[in-house]
Amino acid sequence: MYFYSSLGYLLWILSIKLGTGDLAKYPFLNEASNYIRDTHFDFEELNRPEIEHIIYRAAKKIDVEITKGIIYEELEKYEVEILTFLITLIMVKSIGLELVLKKHSLLEAIRAEKFLIEDLKREKNQQKRRLLLFKIFEDLFKFKVDIDSENHQLFKVKVTDYLERAVQFHEQEWKLINRLVHKGYVYLDADETVRLIRSELSTLIYNRVKSMTFSSLPKAIKSRVDELSIKFKPMYEVRRIYTTTDYPPCIKHALDVMAIGENLSHSGRVMLATYMLAIGKSVEEVSALFHKAPDYNEETTRYQVEHLAGSRGSRIKYSVPSCKKLLNENLCFATEKCNGIINPIQFGRNK
């Protein structure tokens, strides 16, 4: 089987419906993965010299994501993108570090998000916009999104579908009351609509990787994987300082969010940092907690933590927000053990 030609044929069929450019941007679509399943392609094909630059590109993409925490924005022609996507998945799987997988899945989702927002905003062909909405929201996530009949820049989603997804965001603007709600629908712009599926998209990619099985790696990929593993292992073997202590539920939740490389809201970070400082952790230890955040930047994080600790600027030491405040910010996950306390710092004290 000649790799390029059979792939080319399939992509050509797909591109009749969605443009080839779309498949390059959304390589996780069912169409693309069906191809990978249906063609039973031989892993050895990946040792071919013409694939080499794609392997290189995949490795670079993972490297940028993991070490810099930013998405790899470069967009190539679709054959290259789909193969890059596939090879990155194979590599991430082989590296075998959970946090690398989490971060990659998230960044891949954010990357697709950018393209999708662009497409939904700029695409003039309504048919095409509808097809994209269908392929991505409905086909992948059983989430029905319609274009508003009056204003084509607006999208309408069912209140219940909205609520199920929006509760993961802690910012006030996502509260239903701050949305345009009418007759069971919430009206959103392209950015907001797409933002709603970020975690589903990253879970999808995560699961794709988890369910992959292959017995041996092609040589060409193996050497890259080894390089990356050596580079990443020490980054993720940080002491897990929090596993044994009994932290209050709000803090545990925040740590869980951080641990999977998800984004924690600003107030969530303030809570986590002030709490950790209050129980005696150092600025270094506290900054390290944020190291897995998708938008981690060592300098600014350290600066902010120092600020909260009072060792910078105003020299005011910030105290841990009260339970009441945290409840208002949707950061409280109270259990029975929280009875009678008004600040997380009191949790588990009198026992």
Binding site: N151, V159, T160, E173, L176, R179, L180, H182
Partner: protein, 381 residues
């Protein structure tokens, strides 16, 4: 019951009235949908709560009602795989969306004129609010209230406002909304639209916030913080519906009133002042529901058709809210005469009868006798 230590005699009157009701009015008991997936619980007179019970049909429920004569009967709004297991093992499948409108949350101006404060320790009844019992100096005081026509009218208005929001904004169809009189001082609204079953506590809390008018941001109507204090930029989705429309109406603005809104904010004193005021306005426009009832997806909730031991009235479906009169339509106990001792001055209307009572011994029909015993304001002689 409000009265924590009713006399033997009073208790037996209430029990026999309840027994008679469950015999005669068994058709009032509304079997909830998907009955076998729900948890039931009941309270017995003078003892605790029995929970984690399952029934397969309404017949089984009735059997327990006439055998045990519970003071209050509850049913989960949640559906479980194993409803009779302990809480952690039940496996939640979904829950009806429910709302509770209670006069205690409405802060009615008439409330003080028909409230009573009963000392749990010595039984002294006072008509004016005090933290300490004037005869025994203890601080354990129970409050009870005899709702008046105004209370009922206001409660109904609140229910209507809730329904408006539920149907107009959340798009819930009228036939998916069931209204019940709670059996005491309020109404319960049950939503049977299965779309909402899957929602967890947090999503429900968001709905509650929406209905109550909490956490509104001035940005959602276009007032934004800027380098020179504030500026106006209307949201892309406009102001045409829902809360935005309500706020726009209240302020008298529309999508074309940038200048007007800008002036308004300036007049209030700027972004922060305008914000504080808007938050208050929106709260006042919101519906006053009990948030906990809606957010808790594991609670057991009073079952329709059963009696409420705080009053002896029935939790009853209102097919037509406008004409529904709880003090008549939900008062279903018998009218055998009972010798009673009335412990406070009370005015009361039940089953179309007006009772103007002072501290006295008198004969009352069973339904009124039970009502006053449950309220802690009388005992059987």
């Amino acid at each position: 019951m409000i009265n924590t230590n009713p006399t033997e005699k009073s208790l037996s009157i209430v029990k026999s009235a309840f027994r008679e009701y469950y015999f005669k009015h068994s058709k009032n008991i509304e079997a909830p949908l998907r009955i076998e997936e729900r948890e039931f619980g009941y309270m017995q007179f003078g003892s605790g709560m029995v929970r984690h019970i399952v029934f397969r049909n309404v017949g089984e429920i009735l059997a327990v009602l006439v055998r045990d004569i519970p003071s209050d009967v509850y049913c989960s709004n949640a559906y479980y795989v194993f409803p009779s297991y302990p809480m952690q093992e039940k496996q939640w499948k979904g829950a009806d969306l429910i709302f509770d409108i209670d006069s205690k949350d409405l802060c009615l101006s008439c409330e003080p004129t028909h409230s009573y404060f009963i000392c749990i320790n010595c039984g002294k009844i006072s008509e004016s609010k005090s933290e300490i019992c004037l005869s025994c100096n203890t601080r354990r005081i129970n409050r009870t209230s005899i709702p008046c026509n105004k209370c009922i009218h206001t409660l109904k208005k609140e229910v209507e406002r809730l329904i408006d929001l539920l149907s107009g904004d959340l798009g819930i169809k009228e036939d998916a909304i069931q209204i019940y009189f709670s059996g005491n001082n309020g109404f319960h609204v049950h939503i049977s639209d299965t779309e909402f079953h899957k929602l967890g506590s947090q999503a429900r809390a968001d709905i509650v916030g929406y209905l109550m008018g909490n956490s509104v941001m001035v940005e959602s109507i276009g007032v934004r913080k800027g380098p020179e204090g504030f500026f106006i930029k209307f949201p892309k989705s406009g102001l045409a519906y829902g809360w935005r429309k309500r706020i726009a109406c209240e302020l008298g603005i529309s999508q074309s009133s940038i200048l007007k809104l800008s002036k308004m904010v300036q007049q209030k004193g700027g972004y922060d002042e305008f914000r504080t005021e808007l938050i208050k306005t929106v709260r006042d426009l919101g519906v006053r529901i009990d948030p906990h009832v809606t957010i808790d997806i594991h609670r057991v909730f009073r079952m329709a058709g059963t009696l409420n031991s705080k009053s002896g009235l029935t939790k009853k479906r209102c097919h037509d809210l406008k004409s529904f009169d709880p003090l008549n339509d939900a008062c279903l106990l018998g009218d055998k005469e009972i010798d009673m001792e009335i412990k406070a001055r009370v005015k009361l209307r039940l089953k179309g009868q007006i009772f103007n009572l002072k501290k006295q011994n008198t004969r009352l029909p069973m339904y009124a006798a039970v009502y006053l015993i449950c309220k802690g304001l009388a005992s059987a002689n």
